[in-house]
């Protein structure tokens, strides 16, 4: 089980959380103006990163708040946790793989 550092509650077991997929996916500002391909990219297509990945988690059985995590998908090491809506912290993404 991962130990995930909730920014509000502190480190908790993974079983208390639910996963929300890739973080920082911005909804197109003018949905009616984008092509079907661009819309499909927004709705369906996600990165499959080997290395540091920015992802969303929700502490559903704790404070019930959404937040973001930087996790290495190779080692499962969690490098940072930060509030939803905040910018990702500066990390050396290349050497973390």
């Amino acid at each position: 089980m991962l130990v995930i550092p909730c920014p509000h509650c502190g480190p908790r077991g993974e079983i208390e959380f639910s996963y929300g997929g890739q973080a920082h996916i911005a909804r197109p500002k003018d949905p009616e103006k984008v092509s079907d391909a661009e819309w499909a990219d927004y709705v369906f297509l996600r990165d499959n990163t080997k290395g540091v990945f920015l992802e969303r988690w929700c502490h559903v059985h704790g404070c019930r708040r959404w937040f973001n995590v930087a996790r290495n998908t190779v080692t499962y090491e969690i490098l940072a946790a930060y509030d939803a809506g905040a910018k990702p912290p500066k990390l050396d993404y290349e050497t973390q793989v």
Partner: protein, 211 residues
């Protein structure tokens, strides 16, 4: 609202008061239902001094702002649930305590952007105490129950055997009796949670009732 003479606590159908006291051997764990706690969910702007001031003027104490912290008076206790969210409770309040707490908070917070919701009927409260209470909870909950990590007066929301719970380590037990926890669980999970706890505690000896 339900007629008060029809109202039953979530575990009333188990007729716990009619059960025998246990094997007679010293029990490592004591279990009891605490019926009809008054529970009011409070949400408000945690960064607003007026909000905190208005609460303190009504309740007589400051809302806790640290994760897992609690605060209280002789009348109510406030449990930190998340940023800007608290549970104001009166564990022994009786069926009318929820509406009473909610009314006084609504009056105190008039004009402030806050939500006060009486949720008393939605939860069951199970008191588990005794020398082995920590060991029993540890079987089904990912929190660390070592006294260094979970101390008197602390609260946490987590899962117990996959059921969502709110745990409150109450400050009103003496060290000699062992720790005492109030487990709040959704009413529909009350019997499941009771039976799971009872089974997990069996190896230590269970006595029904509060010590």
């Amino acid at each position: 609202m339900i007629e008060s003479y029809l109202r039953q606590s979530p575990l009333a159908h188990l007729a716990l008061a009619a059960h025998g006291p246990g094997s007679g051997k010293p029990a490592g764990v004591h279990m009891a239902e605490r019926p009809f706690p008054g529970l009011v969910n409070l949400r408000g702007p945690g960064d607003n001094a007026n909000f905190h001031g208005a609460f303190k003027a009504a309740a007589g104490y400051d809302l806790p702002v640290e994760a897992g912290a609690t605060a209280g008076s002789a009348n109510t206790t406030a449990l930190w649930l998340g940023p800007g969210e608290w549970l104001i409770l009166d564990a022994r309040g009786g069926p009318k305590s929820g509406p009473r707490i909610a009314e006084s908070l609504r009056a105190a917070l008039a004009g402030i952007s806050a939500a006060v919701t009486d949720i008393s009927e939605s939860r069951a409260c199970i008191r588990i105490s005794g020398a082995k209470a920590r060991a029993v909870l540890q079987k089904g909950c990912p929190l660390d129950f070592h006294p260094r990590h979970f101390a008197q007066g602390q609260c946490a929301q987590s899962v117990l055997a996959r059921a969502a719970i709110l745990l409150h380590m109450t400050p009103d037990e003496t060290a000699a009796d062992g720790p005492a926890f109030d487990v709040y669980v959704a009413r529909s999970f009350a019997e499941y949670t009771w039976r799971w706890l009872e089974d997990a505690a069996r190896e230590f000896g269970v006595a029904r009732g509060e010590r």
